[in-house]
Amino acid sequence: MDKKQVDFLTPAALAGALAGLVSAVPFFNCLCCLWIMAAAAFSVYLLVQKSEVAIKSSEALLTGILTGLVASLVNVILEIPLRPVYAVVFDRFFESLSRFMEMPPGWENLTQMRDQGFNLAWFFLGWLFSSIMFSLFGAIGGLIGYSLFGQKKNSGEKNAQTLPQDDSHSQPGL
């Protein structure tokens, strides 16, 4: 397989869509940026499985960035219908939490801060910001995926290359 023909987009689209979906769902997003990093690592795994040649760390980086971009797109689309659900879940959670423990100062304002109305300009600004954030974390996830899956294939190939080609160079077996 030619190196130029490595398809970054399919694994990135698949893993990115999954990460965007999970990040948008309340409760699941408690794992912070780890979802997007895990998705980027998964997309690198898919890339390694698909590719017949060893991948480079820069390719893992690119796959991670693409995964992040897809995830941010899916996340922002899903957040529009999920906005009211978010508000309800958020309010209920903190109301019940405040009954059992002492809440930090200013937590009531937080609910108001979240429940701001929809603004198109801010929506696009938010999307731009989340694209940057998701692609940065995706890039790091891609590198983690490279450290987990990419290197094994690399070292395997390296070993294969260093095997003696000529029988006269090989050591006799025991």
Binding site: S58, R114, Q116, G126, F134, L136, L143, Y146
Partner: protein, 164 residues
Amino acid sequence: MKKKIIIWSWLLTVLISGLLLAGIFLPAFLAGKNRSLASFIFSLYSPLCHQRPERSYNLWGQQLSVCSRCLGIYAGFFFSAFLYPVYKRSWKIKIGQNFQWLIVLALPLAADFLAGWLKIWDSPLFFKTLTGFFWAAVWPFFWFKALEEFLSSARNVASAGKVE
């Protein structure tokens, strides 16, 4: 040319990560002055952080935009990227060649998270910040390496296109 690319990639990385880190403190600073802007900046961080008040620091009576662990991650990446030119010669060889560091330094964070999740122990906020900080502090070694590789291969493709 290669040196210029390296300097620009470093500057951009430091600038973006610095802005992201500053954005964490901005809502607390702006809360009394411009409430809607503060809420907008606060909401920007919501897709990538649970923003639970009990897991977050407070500044001037206002909650920061991300939890304590995420704050450690953003701060660790920024400070390590900022100081990268200082220690890259000595540490790059030791750390940058071995991608397993990305996994090894994630172990304290993973252990702390799992222990908290299984209710074995609830670590203090500062400890959560530290686990995030040390993990993210190693990222720039691989970030710049991959970025350098990516930019030089992109340049090679561009120059090959010109020759054709």
